[in-house]
């Protein structure tokens, strides 16, 4: 007995990452998720910017320091927002029971991961768009507007790319959203811990090295060095190495894990 053969539609073989990205963007921005996170980010940044600006009147913080604090906060919270969104991207679908329907479509696993990665990245882009006016206005006074925007865009985007990929990689392995988010943040804290030790900070040689090794602390330190200490960009390249390596490496890991994207261990 021969088996009936249905030819595969040619169109089903094409890349679908754009379709996935588009749907993810709709889900992120037309549902409450993306807007809620962005609202939280905007509120915190607005409060901090107000406090930093008001503080300049009583001279507790230098104007440059105020700009540095706002830029660091924008990078820290903005990239964390991207991490929160990407950490939900796959494990959230797994938890909500929507992943199986996606996995039985002819879409390549790589397309699924790439689409979700690109969509999650827009969380940082939105945060960046919100933060830019704050930073530009605040940095205009002390005359560091260009540097402030450059630090925010360059360091922030690299750190955001790294954390988005980290969240997605963990999400592709985690069974639940909560585990994914907890594991992603735990990894971040693990990286940051050595550079936060007082003894390490005081140590002239090891301290900067550990700060440079951690992409998040490196990005934040770059903001301090360029905006507050007014050090030249040319001398700060070392602080961009770990964000670049992390962005490229973690993205590669997230993509590599896509081939092992599974429904989960439940039967």
């Amino acid at each position: 007995m021969t088996t009936a053969i249905r030819p595969l539609p040619r169109s089903a073989r094409r890349s679908n990452w754009m379709v996935i990205t588009k749907q993810e963007l709709v889900d992120l921005w037309l549902s409450s998720k993306g807007l809620s996170v962005l609202f939280g980010f905007t509120s915190l940044l607005a409060i901090l910017a107000y406090l930093a600006s008001a503080d300049a009147g009583i001279n507790l913080l230098d104007a440059r320091e105020s700009v540095g604090v706002v830029v660091q906060t924008a990078i820290g919270l903005g990239t964390l927002s991207a991490l929160v969104v990407s950490a939900d991207a796959i494990s959230g679908e797994r938890e909500r029971g929507t992943l199986e329907a996606l996995l039985v479509t002819p879409v390549a696993r790589l397309d699924i991961v790439a689409g979700k990665l690109l969509a999650a990245t827009t969380m940082w882009l939105a945060a960046l768009l919100v933060a830019l006016p704050f930073v530009a206005v605040m940095a205009d006074g002390p005359g560091v507007a260009f540097d402030a925007v450059a630090v925010l865009v360059v360091a922030g985007t690299l750190v955001a790319a790294a954390l988005t990929a980290l969240g997605l990689a963990v999400s592709s392995l985690a069974m639940s959203n909560r585990v994914s988010l907890a594991a992603s943040i735990a990894l971040l804290l693990l990286l940051a811990t050595p550079s936060q030790l007082p003894a390490v900070k005081a140590n002239g040689a090891l301290g900067p090295l550990l700060i440079q090794a951690n992409p998040v602390s490196a990005g934040l330190q770059l903001a301090t060095n360029v905006l507050v200490k007014q050090e030249a960009w040319a001398d700060q390249w070392a602080y961009l190495i770990s964000p670049i390596v992390a962005a490229v490496g973690l993205t590669a890991i997230a993509i590599a894990l896509s081939s092992r994207l599974e429904l989960g261990g439940s039967r």
């Binding site: 088996t3 249905r6 909500r96 329907a101």
Partner: protein, 345 residues
């Protein structure tokens, strides 16, 4: 074949003839399929063949391996050994298999913020349809499944509506094989009937083969052309419902109506032919008696022969209590303690 649906009997009869002719060509074939999770074997030696347009029921108690088989055949989990082809594509060609199937998983979730139409459009595009073609197909399926006038978000849908939407999603690519894992779980009787009617219509009209995994034996009995009963990861019976029931050895009861004056003769004849049977007399209905029988095509005729030979005029004979549920319990591990008790007694 015994299917019921919302369609007229005429349409169904006409189409059944077409289905029968298509059964010659299998659209899904497995040979010695084995599914494992580490050292645990979830399903073993699964060899089935499902024809085009056939509705094939996969039954079994919890943990029998039904969902594992479905997940293996839908390329969600790898197979440990054996082989399978779906619409001519081996499981190793996952993309081709996925393009040929539709799946409604047991615990299917839905993106609550989307509308039914956008949900279907998205999946249509994933199957290679253009946005316009996906929209058209989504509209048609929503209309067919009674969701056409609803433009609200999925979060406002009832469970029955969500299941119908899930079925529409599984049909968006006009699949060769449709896998449904407990599609009527948690639905009210009307919702169950609705889903069953739709899948029967789909199988009949488009020639889509359906693999139906369900605990609800009544609905399986009504809609499935053939069934397989699984127990502990293996198929323990396969065939039409009648064949499975007949081979299961499950006991049934024949209610015989005879003239009241023939009761004595009938009683004597039955006691000699069926010495172990406890024959029941219904005092409220003189002339009616219940005879316990084993199932099988020969059981009814043996009973008839016995009565006719004794000169009893049989006015009516109805075989009762021999349903798929009896066969299911007889064939699966759920009745193992009963068997032991029977043997020991």
């Amino acid at each position: 074949m015994c299917r019921t649906s919302g369609m007229t009997n005429t349409v169904m009869r006409d189409n059944f003839a077409a289905v029968d002719s298509r059964l010659i060509v299998p659209i899904l074939e497995t040979t010695g399929l084995k599914v494992t999770y580490g050292s645990f074997t979830a399903a073993d030696d699964i060899s089935i063949s499902v024809g085009e347009g056939e509705i094939y029921g996969l039954l079994g108690p919890n943990g029998a391996g039904k969902t594992s088989i479905i997940r293996a055949l839908t390329t969600i989990i790898p197979i440990a050994s054996g082989s399978a082809t779906i619409a001519g594509h081996p499981l190793t060609d996952a993309a081709a298999v996925r393009a040929s199937i539709g799946v409604l998983p047991e615990s299917n979730g839905y993106p609550s913020a989307q509308t039914g139409r956008s949900y279907l459009r998205f999946y249509g595009q994933l199957f290679g349809l253009s946005r316009e073609a996906a929209d058209l197909r989504a509209e048609r399926l929503l209309h067919q499944l009674g969701l056409g006038k609803n433009h609200s978000r999925i979060s406002t849908f009832s469970r029955g509506m969500r299941q119908r939407l899930g079925l529409a999603r599984a049909l968006i690519n006009d699949p060769a094989v449709l896998f449904l894992d407990e599609p009527t779980l948690g639905l009210d009787p009307a919702g169950k009937e609705d889903i069953m009617a739709h899948l029967t219509k789909t199988a009949v009209e488009s020639g889509t083969s359906v693999i139906l995994c369900s605990h609800l034996l009544d609905e399986v009995e009504r809609v499935c052309d053939r069934i397989a009963i699984m127990d502990r990861g293996r198929i323990v019976a396969e065939g039409t419902v009648e064949e499975v029931v007949a081979t299961s050895g499950a006991a049934g009861t024949a209610r015989v109506r005879i003239a009241p004056e023939d009761i004595g003769r009938a009683d004597a004849a039955l006691r000699s032919s069926f010495p172990d049977a406890t024959i029941g007399f219904d005092n409220t209905r003189p002339g009616e008696l219940d005879v316990p029988l084993t199932t099988g095509k020969g059981a009814r005729s043996e009973l008839l022969r016995c009565l006719l030979a004794a000169g009893v005029d049989v006015l009516a004979l109805d075989l009762r209590g021999v349903r798929l549920s009896d066969a299911f319990l007889g064939l699966t591990d759920a009745t193992a303690p009963q068997r032991v008790r029977k043997e020991s007694s």
